[in-house]
Subunit: 162 residues, 2 copies
DNA sequence: CTTTCTCGGATAGCTAGTATCCGTGTTATG
DNA sequence: CATAACACGGATACTAGCTATCCGAGAAAG
């Protein structure tokens, strides 16, 4: 079981966009350059994030992407569900209906116990991801990253943003 | 992100084996027939579960598989980790080291904030799965399944077990 | 010694994720 | 209005991991 790489990219992009001034946007190509990932592929994920209401697109010349909401209102879970989907990793294939124990379909009213166990696990996983917002990550970054690097990043963004 | 089908099969197999008498074993082919899944493929997963110490193999004629421990000592997490691996679904690809913000490698001592957030989520996911044992699932099954089906299953097992 | 069964590896096939490209339409600017 | 810059959306190739099957070797029971 592996989560798509696009999920990591999406979170990183949101963190970077959170540092921009409110009225600024950043082009998809610049975001790709900043993170060192293929631009064409990142663009796909950006479009999905925009469709999910996490990012907002600014069309036309000098356009780009910006956050659709304040960083404190965007959770990691929002990004995960936009890119990876909302369905649980586990899929009950209703094995219990097959083989010698098979019963008429009307007997299977409620989900099987295994399915319920995995659903609970999926719920707490998502709840934990919902606890962390983009704003939290940004604050954490300010603590972890040395000042010189922060200033270097800020300069780069000022030159690239619109 | 999707969990392997083998995980579901593994849990079902453990539940069925938990109903057997202590000294009995069930052949891989019978387990496959019981669940209506391809025998050759299920055998792969059974071998993995045996290697992980969840199941025990009984070699030679009239052999088969049985649980390695009492049902109450086998959790759903044990099965998941045996078949799907123990690593988290999220993989931090150290994007922060690339692009204009790149810093010398010695600066990256502790995992990034995004990585930590996903690690926490993965932990609670596993902790939740560890709460449910095979014995719990068996008890739940006795409540959910009508008596006639249970008797049918018991008869089938008695004819097939060794 | 023969039967029965697991063991273990070798090998296709399939699906979801990865990655790239290009034509179209929209907006800012001169 | 003409032009340049840029997002949009679909089409397409590649790749890795999961799905599925097969068969010979070896171990235990009778
Ligand atoms: S029947 Fe297999 S998990 Fe629901
Ligand atoms: S650098 Fe991207 S998640 Fe750690």
């Amino acid at each position: 079981m592996r989560l798509s790489d696009g999920v990591e990219w999406g979170v990183h992009v949101c963190v970077v966009l959170a540092t921009l001034p409110d009225d600024a946007a950043l082009a998809a190509a610049k975001l790709a350059e900043y993170h060192g990932v293929p631009a064409a592929y990142l663009a796909k994920h950006l479009q999905v994030l925009a469709g999910a209401g996490v990012l907002r697109t600014v069309k036309g010349a000098r356009g780009g992407y910006r956050l659709a909401r304040p960083p404190a209102d965007i959770t990691v879970l929002d990004v995960v569900e936009a890119i990876d989907g909302e369905e649980s990793a586990f899929r009950c294939s209703e094995i219990r209906r097959r083989g010698p124990l098979a019963m008429p379909a009307r007997e299977y009213t409620k989900p099987c116990g295994i399915h319920r166990a995995f659903s609970r696990a999926d719920e707490v996983w998502r709840a934990e991801l919902a606890k962390t917002t983009i704003a939290d990550l940004l604050i954490g970054l300010l603590h972890d990253v040395p000042r010189t690097a922060l200033e270097k990043g800020a300069r780069w963004l000022q030159e690239s943003a619109r």
